[in-house]
């Protein structure tokens, strides 16, 4: 689990988040700017992911969300189409 080794490295976390949301929750790949604001598409996608995974919908990368993101999983995206 590479993230364990770089805990606190914000850029790496953001990179992981972007990849995860792109892969499994249909985040548009041209959304490159990660500005954590309530209206950001990233926040909405984090909430969507948290809802799907049965987590509390904080819209933040809290420890339980990060934990699930680091678990091995199936490669079929969780978005339709």
């Amino acid at each position: 689990y590479p993230l364990d080794e770089v805990a606190g490295d914000k850029d790496t976390i953001m990179e992981l988040l972007q990849k995860y949301l792109e892969n499994y929750y249909g985040l548009e790949k041209d959304v490159q700017q990660f500005k954590i604001m309530d209206s950001s598409p990233v926040i909405k996608k984090i909430q969507e992911m948290q809802k799907f995974l049965g987590l509390e919908m904080t819209g933040k990368l809290d420890s339980s969300t990060m934990e699930v993101m680091h678990k091995p999983r199936c490669g079929v995206p969780d978005v339709g189409g």
Partner: protein, 378 residues
């Protein structure tokens, strides 16, 4: 549960599969067995049957690959994505690909092939990801799943049966009702005068009555009990359990089947289980527990097996030395064997067949003779 957009499914009940290649991590026999077992999981709850072919194009082509492997959805090396599979259809559709950069194992020391295959083959049959963490189709791999007594969750069963229906009723195929946890069968069965239970336990102020794959959940606040499948609450807990009891001070319910027991806390299955019943200090001559009661006041747990019982000290966490003793000597009127038991309001309730006995442990006598389902207000 959910299905793929457009709800693709096989339009036939006989589906073919082919194992195209093998991983070096396991023997061919182990891979064959894992895939076969994974298909069986779905076969048992649908009218589908699977036949293996060894050449040509099968409906489901199973293969191991690393990185880019010809479908423009490359694998990512060790960890992360374990496998992916395609919805039913021609060509690549229906196929299941396993990332050979994972360490595939028969147990859970690495990545268990059976568990991942059962999930992927769910996709191959038309199921999409489930949002229920207890479901096999939840997207995150759960190595704590009980492999020996593996069962689909009710959500998985509902999902696959929404596509293919229930298995045909025959003497050879186990019949699984399409919605076993719907209230109707539960309600009608719960008032059956011949109803008996596998086990009964309290859980956080409620009473759970276990029977086969299901349990009734009775809250003293509501007149009507709920009816649920065991696997919809605890995926690793087997069906047809032998005994269960709650240790309130530990907020834990212990569930017994054969020589093993599991620990649950609310919805959570506790890590490190199942354990052997012999770790409790029971002799190896005991092959199963019939019933168990934990006395929360005295902090003692009673284990009943055949015509004897043992007493466990919850404070010292040891079996008391002067046991076993005969049930009918210390619990006069209860008889020599019990099916299930639990403690409530200072009384011990013993179940045998369709009968229930209320026993006062202080007065050492039976105070009421009841029907087993008296708690259901039938």
């Amino acid at each position: 549960f959910s299905t793929f957009p457009g709800t693709p499914k096989w339009r036939k009940n006989q589906v073919t599969y082919r194992i195209v290649n093998y991983t070096q991590d396991l023997s061919r026999k182990a891979v064959d067995s894992a895939i076969e077992k994974a298909l069986k999981v779905w076969e048992e709850v649908t009218p589908l049957t699977f036949s293996r072919i060894y050449e040509g194009e099968a409906d489901i082509m199973v293969s191991f690959a690393v990185r880019e492997h010809g479908d423009f959805v490359p694998f990512d090396g060790p960890g992360g994505v374990l496998a992916h599979a395609y919805a039913p259809g021609p060509g690549t559709n229906g196929d299941a690909h396993f990332d050979d950069d994972e360490q595939w194992t028969e147990d859970t020391t690495g990545t268990n092939l059976f568990l991942v295959a059962a999930h992927e083959l769910g996709h191959s049959l038309g199921l999409f990801h489930s949002a229920k963490p207890e479901a096999l189709m939840y997207p995150v791999y759960k190595p704590s799943t009980n492999l020996a007594g593996f069962q689909l969750s009710q959500d998985d069963v509902d999902g696959i049966q929404s596509l293919y229906g229930s298995p045909p009723a025959s003497s050879d195929v186990p019949v699984v009702p399409s919605k076993p946890s719907s209230p109707k069968p539960g309600v009608s069965a719960m008032c059956d005068p011949d109803l008996s239970f596998d086990a009964v336990s309290t859980l956080r102020g409620e009473i759970l009555f276990f029977k086969d794959r299901h349990f009734w959940r009775k809250s003293l606040r509501t007149p009507e009990p709920g009816f649920y499948s065991i696997s919809s609450f605890w995926l690793s807990v087997p069906s047809s359990i032998d005994a269960a009891y709650e240790v309130i001070s530990r907020d834990t319910v212990f569930i017994f089947k054969g020589t093993q027991f599991w620990a649950i806390r609310g919805h959570e299955e506790q890590a490190g289980y199942p354990k052997s019943i012999y770790t409790l200090g029971l002799p190896v001559t005991v092959s199963k527990i019939d019933a168990a009661i934990s006395d929360k006041e005295k902090k003692k747990t009673y284990f009943f097996a055949e015509d004897k019982y043992w007493r466990f000290d919850e404070r010292k966490r040891t079996m008391e030395p002067e046991f076993p003793r005969k049930i009918d000597e210390d619990f006069p009127g209860v008889g020599s064997k019990v099916d299930a038991a639990f403690e409530a309001f200072g009384f011990f309730y013993f179940f045998r067949g369709s009968s229930q006995l209320e026993f006062d442990p202080n007065a050492k006598k039976v105070t009421h003779v009841l029907k087993s389902n008296s708690w259901f207000n039938c």
